[in-house]
């Protein structure tokens, strides 16, 4: 039997509290809800008669908690999750994400291992070098060192991952993850250069004609012979260009008799060889090597001419 109570007047605060509790009980059967709210209405009215300055929240607790306590004590089911459109969407998303939430922790140990490897790989890729860093990084050119470092980094990374339950460890692990991912993405852009091309470094062999050669339409100049007008060959002449720079020619490496020759350069007082003295004095290699550098030749067969025979112009006397 529900007694009739007549009209009860509440203050604005009381009405607000009542409304908020009512909102939490909206799902209950009418009978239960009406009775409970009626009790609360009377209770609020009675509380308002008291000489107490505290707010209703202070005296009765949060309306949602009040409603929850009411349900528990009355043996009624707890309030269902709020079912606004956005919360329904969240619930759907949550349900869809559940397999991911259970799957991700299973993947974590794999990531810890990969993270350790990536740290060493990325650091090895930092300096441009000619060593192949993939799949085994080669810091300082050593794959063995790379393998050891990878092992250590993987152990450290897994240890960090297993301890990440603590807040500080977790923060550190997340920071490391972000750094590794960013560095990996940045490096990925250069992967073709760094990972593939490092095997094919262009090497320019030292050439006698690279930077100091005089070139004529007939080929590189390997010696210079100077004569006076009367046909006297000049020995040990220093040659300079128009700016006073020493004039240097290439070195002749090929000889018709396949005997290697070396240049005997005069030395300055300080013992430094002077390399722009002409004509260059090509003499047979004292080690009697051939052109290949490994075979030994018989000096008797080394007959190629060192100086060319030249025809000098006839000069009119006195001009």
């Amino acid at each position: 039997m529900t007694p009739t109570l007549g009209v009860v007047e509440l203050t604005e605060a009381g009405q607000g509290y009542l409304r908020r509790v009512a909102a939490q009980l909206a799902d209950l059967p009418d009978e239960d809800r009406v009775e409970l709210l009626e009790d609360l209405t009377l209770h609020l009215a009675a509380l308002e008669q008291e000489d107490d300055d505290r707010s209703l929240e202070d005296r009765l607790g949060d309306p949602a908690e009040y409603a929850a306590d009411l349900r528990t004590a009355a043996g009624l089911p707890p309030a269902p999750r709020p079912s606004t459109r956005s919360s329904r969407a969240l619930a759907v998303l949550g349900a869809a994400a559940r397999p991911v939430r259970t799957f991700v922790p299973q993947l974590l140990p794999g990531w810890w291992v990969a993270r350790g490897y990536l740290i060493v790989l990325l650091l090895s890729l930092l300096p441009v070098n000619s060593h192949r860093d993939f799949p085994v990084p080669a810091p300082g050119g050593s794959h063995a060192l790379g393998a050891v470092l990878v092992l250590l980094a993987v152990v450290a990374s897994v240890a960090l991952g297993r301890r990440a339950q603590h807040r500080w460890h977790l923060a550190m692990a997340v920071a490391v993850d972000v750094a590794v991912v960013v560095a990996a993405l940045a490096t990925a852009a250069q992967v073709p250069d760094r990972l593939v091309r490092t095997d094919y470094v262009m090497v320019t062999p030292p050439s006698p004609f690279t930077d100091s050669s005089l070139i004529t339409p007939h080929g590189p100049v390997t010696n210079v012979f100077a004569y006076t007008l009367d046909g006297t060959p000049l020995a040990q002449v220093l040659l300079f260009d128009q700016d006073g720079r020493p004039l240097r020619t290439g070195e002749q490496l090929w000889w018709k008799d396949h005997c290697r020759r070396v240049i005997e350069q005069p030395k300055a007082l300080d013992g430094v060889a002077i390399d722009h003295v002409y004509p260059k004095a090509y003499v047979l290699d004292p080690a009697r090597r051939g052109l290949s550098g490994t075979n030994v030749v018989d000096p008797a067969t080394c007959t190629a001419k060192v100086a060319p025979s030249v025809v000098l112009p006839k000069v009119r006397p006195g001009s």
Binding site: M1, T2, P3, T4, L5, G6, V8, E9, D32, E35, L36, E38, D39, L40, T41, L42, H43, A45, A46, L47, Q49, R59, L60, G61, E65, Y66, A67, A68, D69, L70, R71, T72, A73, A74, G75, L76
Partner: protein, 110 residues
């Protein structure tokens, strides 16, 4: 241990006991329980308990006009309520004795 947690299981008995002493309305039941020493008991818990006991047929209810303010909704115990109170009292007695023994306290007078 939180006294309010320990109290929860025996709030039915406490409420029935208060109402058995005299018909009463919710606000006053809360006040009497607090006065008796159950300072931690929540208003909502008392009203929820009253509602459940009423639904279980252990209490009846009637409205009384009040000169000081709003009408009051009184609860009164009935036979079923008294039976529940008796049963609850015995359960409490047995429980309290058990705990007393465990704590090595002297047996209380029955």
């Amino acid at each position: 241990m939180d006294a309010s947690q320990a109290m929860k299981g025996f709030l039915d008995v406490a409420v029935l006991a208060v109402v058995e002493a005299a018909d009463n309305y919710g606000y006053e039941v809360v006040r009497l329980l607090r006065e008796a020493g159950l300072a931690e008991v929540g208003d909502a818990s008392v009203y929820g308990t009253l509602r459940r006991l009423y639904q279980a047929g252990a209490l009846t209810s009637y409205a009384v006009a009040s000169e000081e303010g709003p009408h009051r909704k009184y609860y009164a115990i009935n036979e079923r309520g008294r039976a529940l109170l008796k049963e609850g009292t015995e359960t409490w007695q047995s429980f309290a004795d058990t705990i007393d023994r465990l704590l090595g306290l002297p047996r209380r007078a029955a």
